[in-house]
Point group: C2
Chain length 296, copies 2
């Protein structure tokens, strides 16, 4: 069994990006600039955004954090999005989700200029990915695919079973795993809460991507010998063994499953760090105007 080290891989990607930013700067080019909008003070969101800003600094990007209180109106938020859309210095930006209930996440996401949508959540980027056209790939599925690539894990002709059909992981991961070429060319099965025989299907899988958000859902007797297991779950489970009072727990019962795997990602330190690395990659592409040219 080989552990897939997402933390080390993400560090390597950040190093590669930092090298490229240095080159761009020394050639007199523009420093890539990522902005993040954060609404309210949710603990998870605070941590995610802080990590993104920190990662930007590490690779030499410029970063701007825009904060609103929970009582911000949808109109104010949309104005802020519009301002970033029109700011030529901002190459890409994200609006950290979730948003307060009185604000439509769909409306805000669609208001973002898709050419600056480095989260890859805008319908244009989702559609282009599905059609196999260039665009910004959403961060978590693209991080998964990058792990498979860097560990040279064979995917062609393999059966990939995806647990979960969310817009941000399950569905886009299915699209990427079934597309032509490498990593891809998988037979893909998507299971979810309405699938009656998940165990039977998982036992057929060469590759399992678990993204249900149910702690330790995937047990040892659901995985065949030699499978590759990618754990996307990150649920905060109360714990008296940690200072914070909780423990990040994946969708995989690691101790049971790991001995049967050829490769497995841990939680934490697997897919998680790759998500930010993917965001940085998208921002670099946005800065270089390699995906879309912005003419306004």
């Amino acid at each position: 069994m080989q552990l897939i080290d997402g933390k080390a891989t993400a560090a390597k990607i950040r190093e590669e990006i930092a090298q490229e930013v240095k080159k761009i700067k020394s050639a007199g080019g523009k420093t890539p600039h990522l902005a993040a909008i954060l609404v309210g003070h949710d603990g998870g969101s605070e941590t995610y955004v802080a990590n993104k800003v920190k990662a930007c600094e590490q690779v030499g990007f410029e970063s701007t954090l825009i904060r609103f209180e929970n009582d911000v109106t949808e109109e104010e938020l949309l104005k802020s999005v519009e301002k970033l859309n029109n700011d030529p210095d901002i190459d890409g930006f994200i609006v950290q989700l979730p948003l307060p209930k009185h604000i439509s996440e769909d409306k805000v996401t669609e208001a973002i200029d898709y050419r600056k949508d480095v989260d890859g959540f805008h319908p244009v980027n989702v559609g282009r990915m599905s059609l196999g056209l260039p665009g910004f790939l959403s961060a978590t599925p693209s991080g998964i695919v990058e792990l498979l690539r860097r560990y040279e894990i064979e995917t062609r002709g393999k059966h990939c079973v995806i647990l979960g059909r969310s817009n941000i992981v399950g569905k886009p991961a299915a699209t990427l795993m079934m597309r032509k070429g490498y990593p891809g060319d998988c037979t893909v099965t998507v299971c979810h809460s309405r699938t009656p025989n998940i165990k039977e299907i998982c036992l057929q899988a060469d590759i399992i991507i678990a993204a249900l958000g149910v702690p330790e859902f995937l047990k040892g007797d659901m995985v065949k010998e030699g499978a590759v297991v990618i754990d996307v779950g990150t649920t905060r489970v109360p714990s008296d063994k940690t200072k914070s009072g909780f423990k990040l727990t994946g969708d995989v019962a690691f101790d049971e499953v790991a001995p049967k795997c050829s490769y497995i990602t841990p939680v934490p330190g697997g897919v998680g760090p790759m998500t930010i690395a993917s965001l940085l990659k998208n921002t670099l592409l946005a800065g270089k105007k390699e995906v879309y040219s912005i003419e306004k």
Copy 2:
């Protein structure tokens, strides 16, 4: 075994649309108007477009056919698209594919205002479908889902195996069959040319959607007793028994497979007629501005 009669179902849908158009007209509303751009004289394309125009007349729509010769430049074609985008009388339009090789189909498809893209091929509509947002559903997968709905075929918790990963059938059909609600909530497996064990997977399927474009690919021994089989294939196979010299042949070896099925679509007369019915439905929605409002 029950035959799913796509021809009769499509006729019923056309009748429903005709009734609604009558109501709109008698209330002084605008007659829905579909335009089609046809380039060249390919036999298949001529037939498809002629059928679409005829169907428009049957339901009381206005229709406009714009023809170009094969030597039309991309620029001329894009100008024509732009003109239709800006024509307030045109509610929806399609550009019949394939286009000559010197013209980028992607570029032309993306030039269409997504709010008039009744084929549902524009990245915005593809992305919105994937995200579960309202939009124009592409015609063939939406026709398949409509057949399942009208025949009240249970999909929830069923295993749907899709043969083929094309942008116009396989991938969007997968999205629709896995979405929440009815028809949907299927466990979905997408197989394709790189799948080594298609037979084994098909034998697990409650519903098979065959869209590989390989005549009579699905044999009797690949289908379990009681399965629902939807045949999307329409390959012209040479034949000395027809006047035209060819015979439309599906992806299913019908004579072997049909006796094992609970439901099956024939070719012709199954999914084919539903595709045009879906296009008419999208045009009606476009005319009523129910999906997108157009403010320009």
